[in-house]
Symmetry: D2
Subunit: 341 residues, 4 copies
Amino acid sequence: MIDLSCDYNVGCAPELLAALCAANETQHATYGSDAFSARAKEKIRAAVANPDADVWLLVGGTQTNATVLAAILRPWEGVISAASGHIAVHESGAVEASGHKVLALEADRFGRLSPETLRAYLRGFYADETYPHMVRPGALYVSHPTELGGLYTAAALRELRALCDEYGLRLFLDGARLAYALASPETDVTLPLLGELCDVFYIGGTKCGALCGEAVVFREKQPCFFPAHKQRGALLAKGFLLGLQFDALFTDGLYLRLGRQGVACALRLREGLRSLGVSFSPESGSNQQFPVLTAEQLNRLRDKVGFEVWERRADGSAVVRLCASWRTMEAEIDAVLDALR
Amino acid sequence: MIDLSCDYNVGCAPELLAALCAANETQHATYGSDAFSARAKEKIRAAVANPDADVWLLVGGTQTNATVLAAILRPWEGVISAASGHIAVHESGAVEASGHKVLALEADRFGRLSPETLRAYLRGFYADETYPHMVRPGALYVSHPTELGGLYTAAALRELRALCDEYGLRLFLDGARLAYALASPETDVTLPLLGELCDVFYIGGTKCGALCGEAVVFREKQPCFFPAHKQRGALLAKGFLLGLQFDALFTDGLYLRLGRQGVACALRLREGLRSLGVSFSPESGSNQQFPVLTAEQLNRLRDKVGFEVWERRADGSAVVRLCASWRTMEAEIDAVLDALR
Amino acid sequence: MIDLSCDYNVGCAPELLAALCAANETQHATYGSDAFSARAKEKIRAAVANPDADVWLLVGGTQTNATVLAAILRPWEGVISAASGHIAVHESGAVEASGHKVLALEADRFGRLSPETLRAYLRGFYADETYPHMVRPGALYVSHPTELGGLYTAAALRELRALCDEYGLRLFLDGARLAYALASPETDVTLPLLGELCDVFYIGGTKCGALCGEAVVFREKQPCFFPAHKQRGALLAKGFLLGLQFDALFTDGLYLRLGRQGVACALRLREGLRSLGVSFSPESGSNQQFPVLTAEQLNRLRDKVGFEVWERRADGSAVVRLCASWRTMEAEIDAVLDALR
Amino acid sequence: MIDLSCDYNVGCAPELLAALCAANETQHATYGSDAFSARAKEKIRAAVANPDADVWLLVGGTQTNATVLAAILRPWEGVISAASGHIAVHESGAVEASGHKVLALEADRFGRLSPETLRAYLRGFYADETYPHMVRPGALYVSHPTELGGLYTAAALRELRALCDEYGLRLFLDGARLAYALASPETDVTLPLLGELCDVFYIGGTKCGALCGEAVVFREKQPCFFPAHKQRGALLAKGFLLGLQFDALFTDGLYLRLGRQGVACALRLREGLRSLGVSFSPESGSNQQFPVLTAEQLNRLRDKVGFEVWERRADGSAVVRLCASWRTMEAEIDAVLDALR
């Protein structure tokens, strides 16, 4: 069976496994002070073109979101997010558990927060005389790609950044699937741009070829993020496990290569489905595709392809998620399309 | 100037002030163990017709909401509220500050949460396979009257209670303005009914004739609410200050009498405005009225009546709040109406 | 019966009650924006000789401690306190409830933290290579008078301040009983000195002549303390209740006068007890006296004087707390001493 | 150089790495619902001889401590710990960050909390009339082995359990190094005994042969631990990474075997050092040894052996930690002893 159900259900890219095997018997400094982590951070600083960037390696996405937000917000501040954002929906209230409200704004159909929506909210907030009694927006959270495969453009991010500057917000970008955004021909957002625009963002490992791990990149030095992430249980004793994976991911362009494979397969699938007359809800330029399949089409894929049903409709059709990843092969995509023809 | 701007900008009812003056020189037991508090609690238990009710006297509304919710929720639980609910909007994130998400659902135009909306949400929640990753609804918060003067009926509350039973939610009713609901001819909700239906509710003092104070009524004994409210800074050293006020409010039906005065004035105002062809947004059966006044009408009230502008409209008209209280006099209402004629 | 059991079991000083009665019928701006509060803050700024001081009126002591600390600490920081400090013992974990560890250090027999103890702790902390895994000290909490009636000298506070500067700590002084320290001949600490040395301190009302209320004085402007204290339920809707009390307390030197009365009585008591050969545990220069009374002496006071037993000893003697306050009269003290003669 | 510096600075046992390599290419169910995790849990239930035990796989120790305590405590409860306990010292305030005070009691020289100390504290707590204002003890935390290599006996644990029952405490045992306790000839505590006595404990992976991972064992079913640990960022998307490691650790007695190797080496070292007249601070029956070495002995080990200096003394001697682990070899121990002869 061809597995397009999700991008976090297999192990890691072979390069990472090889690095892990090679390092298994060696002694490493602990708690993130190992040589692998140092190298990984150096390479990431180079990749984001910011020698002052402060890089930290955490374990998973929810942990990273909650830990970073707890570190950058003050108690009376909340974080703005698209209503479909991961922190707003699927993290069991991790952000609220550290005391901060998620200020959910309407997203577009791609799960993106538009500068217009953000501007209208911020103007409205400060125009309301009762705003001192309300949760102060302290940060903006965006995911790129979004949970629905949506992609921001450099221009949109710049507009969001300008609004953050105007209203005193820190900009935090969730890059759990960042490889698939960086590799997409449909956005011009690059790592250096993120390093320039975001107060903090992270480079997702778990969904982009690693066993686990997310690399958090702060634009500026964070003297207290060590206790901040230790306190949230986000500091791994054997930090070299994260270090060696990101070291490998940022060696010889592997991270981008993995992303490209996932996106190439996803776009091949999108193209093929389009040619079959399939519509999308929404279209995605990233590794996740959300086609609307008829009952018959669904039937044809049964037992051949693993996928997730996103939304069942009354007529038997459904929006499904077909999720390519760094390990999906073009031949698998072709087989899926064949099954539908 | 006639003051209809809000119901918490003067001192207390004369009976309370007299009680305070009489008690000022006497020694009282501390931290809520005084005789006044004991008497007040006894009278409240009688008024709610529940001899097992556990009554606690706290200082203010936001404090009460956050303290009660922190005591009844587990860390992974959130509280459902109308999107216009006080905890969702105007408490600076007090509920989130203790770790719990406010799950905001669409309210009707009166600021009420309908049983239909609640049922649809709960069904949808548990129908979503990803719900274990989402914030579990643990309690339902309703305000009565709502922030917009809306009133629940006994039937509606019973339906909400049934849904709470079905889905394992505790029912918490914010009665910051409860006197004005109990006194309204437009709802059949009584104190004994609240004592029966709510796991916990509170009888507002601050907006209903007291200097400060909210009486929290739990349906069942709470062995640990003492440290729970001490921990939130809600325990007054001189607890007799709260005790004597609630003792006075629940002597000879004062609380209801104060409520009736506010409601009588508000309904007299509503009737008068209606006869002048004024519309409302929304109508209220409680002490707060939200008429839509034209630019000319607004002008006529200027310098004569204190009120709050709720929403300015492009044509110069505005939704305003005219707020009667226990100390508003019929003659004041008539003067307001005269000014508009 | 003469009541020396505590300093928060009667109402307020007559001047405050009169002000309350006079203001009860008038309309006041809400949430602390009233004229009384403005005047009180102005007077307090003058009293601390710091025109830039930012003054806020909160309701009670535990609330104030937890709210201030939540506002000035970052998540990974704790607060240093004497092990006998109120926040370390008697606030039901209010500080921890907002996420911060109380770092308890050994106090001297007066409940004071010595500069030597603090210096040794701070040196030891940063000398420990594992300190990044430990709770970072972010603030120093001292109470003046202490819970045991102890008093800091100006020199000691200056030493503590110097250590705070050296190690990046904010200095927070709990003045729940400050009137009795300011009035004591046994310390040279003044309000202007506190305004100079403390990042933030508070002037206790509840135990010093008010019904409730603590005036928090920040050395510098706090742009976000409004939501910070609203969020903790510490903002009173009828803020004028606090404003008028502090306005009265800081009119014509009332606050100091009330303090002086309490201290004069306490020292008269101490002198009398000493002349009877009574020892103390510890001596206090403040309004609380902790004499060690024999079984016979305890017996003589029974039914004549209200006091608290602090520590029963095997031989039937006990350390007791005899607590004078602004309303204790010299004649009462003499009667107590007569009973023991 | 022989590395005895710590037990978490290399990779995992070969069996685990082999399992990881074998599973790397396969598709696994996500978020802990994979077959490996199911098998691991089944094996652990068997090992603790409790078919109803509820087993969860988390990533690291600090995370586990904070997550479990947040799940089992109510807001007003604290957790009792030896003052030298990991949660009290070296977790950057993770427990306080979720709102709970660590109630630190004096440990014996092995870092153990004695039943006598616990009993005295609990009696004293409830004998103090002011206890409702203090943090209520809600759970007891013990580590086994302790941070100093101390070991509880079954009898001691039974006594602690009895006190927990008497005072309504949950018993939580931190088994970060549990393999080295189970393997020690100096304690009779077994996994089934822990399954019987502890409300919850965990079987440490990180320090006992795994790359990462701690297996939490609740005595009773926990219907809400899924959102509880998701909320704390402790749920791994690729949960099979933990599942396969614990599956391997609990196959053919590997976990105990790894523990035995560490303990055998440590006791061989202890014996050898004793025969050289070395004293300990303290002696340990577990994998960590804390000998007091003279300046000359320290010098002899330099460049030959990796170890941690625990406490430098004025005469040039030092308490050091020599830490054996599952991968230490007897020959390495002999070489260390040779260097000292």
